[in-house]
Assembly symmetry: C2
Homo-oligomer: 219 residues x 2
DNA sequence: TCCTTTTTGTTGAAAATTCAACAGACTTTC
DNA sequence: GAAAGTCTGTTGAATTTTCAACAAAAAGGA
């Protein structure tokens, strides 16, 4: 396990846990590392969700089969991202998604029951782990909530302005960078990319904002 | 506290916890019950999020002040709903919303730190409480995820069909009821109500589905 | 540096949504 | 049981978005 320490320490799930405690804990949790070739299925739709996954190297896709049989890629993750934690914690009977290796990848799998039900050893770091997992879920909830707040606006302009003011508020400044390129921003806002570009252009002309690449200024 | 037992037992946060254990635990957690008159602020935007709230009676609104000063109501909760748990667990510095009493209400407030950091007594039910809280957050994450999956479709028709097939899958039947009236469904799908009604009409004519009130049949 | 690839902005036409207004069906209240 | 209020479906016009196609700009590679 030692060789994965460097990447595991970057994972928010293991924040505030010392190296040796982490190693001991992983053993205690029965964490296992598996290697998957490209296109191999790591977790399969329909199976019970018990495992939490952590990408150690390579990348994975979260894939869903549509009601009319179309496969769609919900997201793509790389190290040290965590996946399936919500499904595992909610104890869903059947995973609604599959997780597929996007390239040869090393994946750590931990049975969520081992996390949630602390062992008799009662290691103090287990507490911290639960705390970290909780924080991860809570943060996701908040981010989703924010996104819905943005996308529930009805026009591209409103969505954009709502999003940008949130970012300005967060940065505590009129000038700030966003973590998206145009296509990604359009996907986030759930609008058409070209329409988004057009709207940004309009707002510039009107003097409402200015932008160059990812940097925006809101007047 | 005893008089609140009946309502608290309905709250998923306290699932699988026996009455007397629950009462002892509430004391241990420093849970307090406060009464708020209509329009009084229970939790104020901008303050640190440390408390988890539970509606015991009455109802509350989750309110947000827009970037241009407009107040908007994000949701309305009644007993035995839980609020602010995500903010508290994520330890956000400033609440992005306010919680206002919508009528005279009794609210239980619990400092989230007391939940997350188990006491030295190490009561077994505290474990269960953490577990329940985790499940609550995980479930919310999943529900938000689903909603985004639905609303990310671009047309009313696609949104509606995506949502309905999810419900059919969940009910494991072509015929099922949804928990929304038309306006609520439109809000959930983020579309115009009248447009939604029109689309349902079209789909009926095309023989894709049938509906009366909340009951839908998908062919 | 040059060439290739990706990203971004622009456009106009087609399609879809929103908006406002109204009428009928259904509920609730007194 | 009548009246008031709410919910739903329908319509047409105005607005907005999407879509496809292209050109300019930026980024990356050889």
């Amino acid at each position: 396990m030692k060789k994965y320490l460097k990447i595991l320490k970057k994972c928010p799930l293991f924040a505030e846990i010392e190296d040796d405690s982490l190693l001991r804990m992983l053993t205690c949790l029965g964490a296992k590392v598996e290697e998957f070739d490209k296109k191999y299925t790591i977790l399969a739709e329909g199976y019970p969700a018990t495992y939490i996954g952590i990408v150690l190297s390579g990348s994975v896709q979260i894939v869903q089969v549509d009601y009319d049989g179309n496969r769609s890629i919900l997201s793509e993750l790389s190290a040290p991202d965590v996946f399936a934690e919500a499904f595992a914690c909610a104890e869903v009977r059947a995973l609604p998604v599959s997780v597929i290796a996007n390239e040869p990848s090393q994946i750590m799998l931990i049975d969520c029951n081992h996390i949630l039900h602390t062992c008799e050893n009662n290691c103090g770091f287990h507490q911290q782990l639960i705390f970290n997992l909780m924080k991860d879920l809570a943060t996701k909830t908040i981010l989703f909530h924010q996104r819905i707040e943005v996308t529930s606006k009805r026009t591209t302009r409103e969505k954009l302005l709502t999003y940008l003011s949130m970012q300005a508020k967060k940065a505590n400044s009129h000038s700030f960078e966003i973590p998206f390129d145009r296509q990604e921003l359009a996907d986030y806002l759930e609008v058409d990319r070209s329409g988004l570009s057009a709207e940004i252009g309009k707002l510039k002309k009107e003097g409402v904002l200015d932008s160059q690449k990812n940097r925006f200024v809101l007047y």
